[in-house]
């Protein structure tokens, strides 16, 4: 029972990080129908920003986690920059596949660029403590503060995001553009600005995810976002890509699957199981758990 509860908490914590990343994927996919492979590397950008700004924060006498504000800003800038420099020109001329190849190339570019920067380099950097250590012990199960913070913060962020997309003007514009781009233009929505905002918000979320991830696994390296991003993408697809509640659900499912596989089957087979779930979901219900199947118009 103790192992089960512990695994459950680990799964929920991991799942909330995945959900935060998956939200970024799903928002961008919903609006421009592009898998932003570089999204995983935004986490890496966020991670390194944290590494470099946490000392500043502690020097200024502020709590270390406040560095996430700067990380969010940096990630949002990088996201907007990627959209402006690479995705927009390619989207204007090419097909869906060329855009996809650009996304893969962008991811490769960010990873290798980070390695080529002398201050970062190819070796992992160990992060300092971001939150106060400690936790509760209830019924033989240790519940770290980090776990509680992670779950609480991602729940709060998702709630905020939900309010943002449902209630604000910009959020409504996003939903319009993802539903029908040309109709949105006719209604006076600036598609380009909406897409940019989506990129900024999605990338900002990945900075929050980076904070949560680094607080748990205090190691930052240039390819950290690659597998993390892929799994979060699996989460987004499993929940139904393009749907915000789908990303949340998918993230939690993948997190739980991963932690239960690790503790009950084999830790080295986790990735294989996660991707098998993706293949199974795509075979049984290609639109995802919450998605609706849409017929193709000729």
């Amino acid at each position: 029972m103790g192992v089960f509860l512990q695994t459950l908490f680990v799964g929920l914590r991991l799942g909330s990080v995945y959900a935060l990343i998956a939200l970024g994927y799903t928002m961008v996919y919903g609006i421009i129908r592009l898998i932003n492979f570089a999204h995983g590397d935004f986490i890496m950008v966020g991670g390194y920003t944290l590494i470099f700004t946490v000392p500043l924060m502690t020097a200024a006498g502020l709590p270390a986690w406040l560095a996430v504000v700067i990380a969010i800003a940096v990630c949002a800038l990088v996201g907007v920059g990627v959209e402006l420099v690479a995705y927009r020109p390619v989207r204007r001329k090419g097909t869906g596949m060329t855009a996809l190849i650009t996304a893969v190339a962008m991811s490769l570019f960010l990873e290798n660029l980070a390695q080529a920067i002398p201050a970062i380099g190819p070796n992992p950097i160990i992060a300092s403590q971001l939150f106060a250590p400690g936790g509760f012990r209830v019924a033989g199960v240790t519940l770290d503060f980090v776990t509680i913070y992670t779950i609480a913060v991602s729940a709060a962020v998702m709630l905020l995001l939900y309010v943002f997309t449902q209630k604000t003007r910009m959020g409504r514009a996003m939903r319009c553009v993802s539903e029908d781009k040309s109709a949105a233009v006719l209604m006076g929505i600036s598609v380009n600005r909406t897409v940019l905002t989506t990129f900024a918000v999605g990338s900002g979320l990945s900075a929050v995810a980076a904070l949560m991830y680094v607080a748990q696994y205090p190691k930052v390296y240039t390819t950290m976002g690659s597998l993390l991003g892929l799994k979060a993408f699996v989460a987004a697809v499993a929940g139904g890509i393009g749907l915000i509640p789908g990303a949340m659900l998918g993230g939690l499912v993948i997190g739980l699957v991963e932690s239960f596989t690790t503790s009950y089957i084999s830790s080295s087979l986790t990735d294989a199981v996660v991707f098998l779930i993706l293949i199974a979901v795509l075979l049984i219900k290609p639109a995802g758990i919450l998605g609706k199947n849409v017929g193709e118009k000729v």
Partner: protein, 384 residues
């Protein structure tokens, strides 16, 4: 038979014979010299499997218009199949030294079964791919590549105590048919021959009615289905066909290297052998141009070799040298730039041909001489 086609066969056949003769002379004169043995022969082996990888991915990416990001997964299957099979034969005592008819038989048996097993997995991956398009297919293939590496790492009989007795690390396996430097020279003909045969087969596939059907699917799937093309069948077929050659490329890789490691077959890694790099090669050469893929594989190999070993790199300014430490950085930028300005790749769908290209080039040059503006078709020929 059509007269041009006949002439094409004669010219291409003659060139192949001439190239082979020149190669034999070279190998005979330089065969045991250090430079040839240690640099050129391994280089040719590398070019062989890079060509096969690029050309086989082009079948899916260029001709069928589907992005597959797990091509190295098929290669890994091929490499491990060939390595494990040859080890098994060696242990069973079918051959004990790397020469003689028995070894040759084992070698070709390994190469063919590597291809066949990879093709079987190609069918497995291709069937879910039937229901999916574009982005989803990319993700499925990517996931498949990761699964393969993961599973191979966990296979009990591929580990330290299994077939690969005495291997250095858990993920590093000795290969039975791994050639040393003099064997690489001795069996160079096999590697080059297999590559040439496979590229020819791919050409025949692309030019056949199957190739036309596949291109029709790429251009408009719904219209193709409406014209009576069984899109599902052709998609799985192309997938399996492409996987077959990736498996053969893997077998050649296992021949050329004395040890295998799963790190070599991941999605991205520090070295050049990964699924993304294969995509870079195909896009550079042109999506839908097999000859383009062959040329770009060779060019990329030379470029990579030069970046890693060339003396001229030392003469460059510091920051470029810094970038060259991470060649994938350069390739990523190159890929983005090419996609931006030539979405179909440098050569597009242009195929080189010994019969036509020289004539077109000459016309091109004459046209330039008269100061005429380049037309679009000629640009591709000039781009070489």
């Amino acid at each position: 038979m059509n007269k041009t086609v006949k002439r094409g066969y004669i010219v291409n056949g003659l060139t192949a014979v001439l190239a082979y003769a020149a190669f034999c002379v070279l190998a005979a004169t330089l065969g045991q010299e250090g430079g040839f043995k240690l640099i050129i022969a391994p280089g040719i082996w590398q070019c062989c499997y890079l060509i096969l990888l690029a050309a086989s991915l082009n079948l899916v990416l260029g001709f069928m218009g589907q992005l597959s990001l797990g091509h190295c997964g098929f290669m890994a299957i091929g490499a491990y199949t060939a390595a494990l099979m040859s080890l098994a034969f060696e242990r069973a005592g079918v051959y004990d030294e790397k020469s003689g008819a028995a070894f040759l038989a084992v070698l070709f048996l390994c190469i063919i079964s590597a291809g066949l097993l990879a093709a079987a997995f190609g069918v497995l991956v291709g069937i879910p791919a039937l229901r999916l398009k574009g982005d989803y297919l990319a993700i499925i293939t990517l996931g498949f590549g990761l699964i393969i590496v993961n599973v191979i790492n966990n296979l009990p009989f591929a580990g330290q105590n299994g077939l690969a007795e005495g291997s250095a690390a858990a993920s590093l396996y000795a290969t039975g048919l791994g050639f040393g430097s003099s064997d690489r020279v001795a069996y160079l003909w096999a590697g080059v021959g297999v590559t040439a045969l496979c590229v020819t087969l791919m050409f025949m596939f692309v030019r056949s009615k199957y190739g036309r059907a596949v291109r029709a699917i790429r251009d408009d799937e719904i219209a193709a289905a409406a014209s009576g093309i069984n899109t599902g069948y052709y998609k799985v077929l192309t997938f399996a066909f492409s996987a077959f050659f990736a498996g053969v490329a893997g077998a050649l890789y296992a021949c050329c290297n004395a040890s295998l490691s799963t790190v070599s077959f991941s999605f991205t890694n520090g070295s050049i052998l990964n699924s993304t790099f294969v995509v870079v090669m195909v896009v550079l050469g042109g999506m839908g141009s097999l000859t383009g893929s062959v040329v770009s594989a060779v060019v990329m190999f030379l470029l990579n070799y030069q970046i890693a070993n060339g003396a001229w790199v030392d003469a460059l300014p510091g920051f470029i040298q810094g970038a060259f430490t991470y060649p994938m950085l350069v390739y990523a930028v190159v890929l983005i730039v090419i996609i931006m300005f030539r979405p179909k790749g440098i050569f597009g769908a242009y195929e080189f041909s010994l019969l036509r290209t020289p004539g077109e080039l000459a016309r091109r040059l004459r046209g330039l001489g008269r100061g005429k503006r380049a037309n679009k078709g000629g640009k591709e020929a000039a781009a070489q």
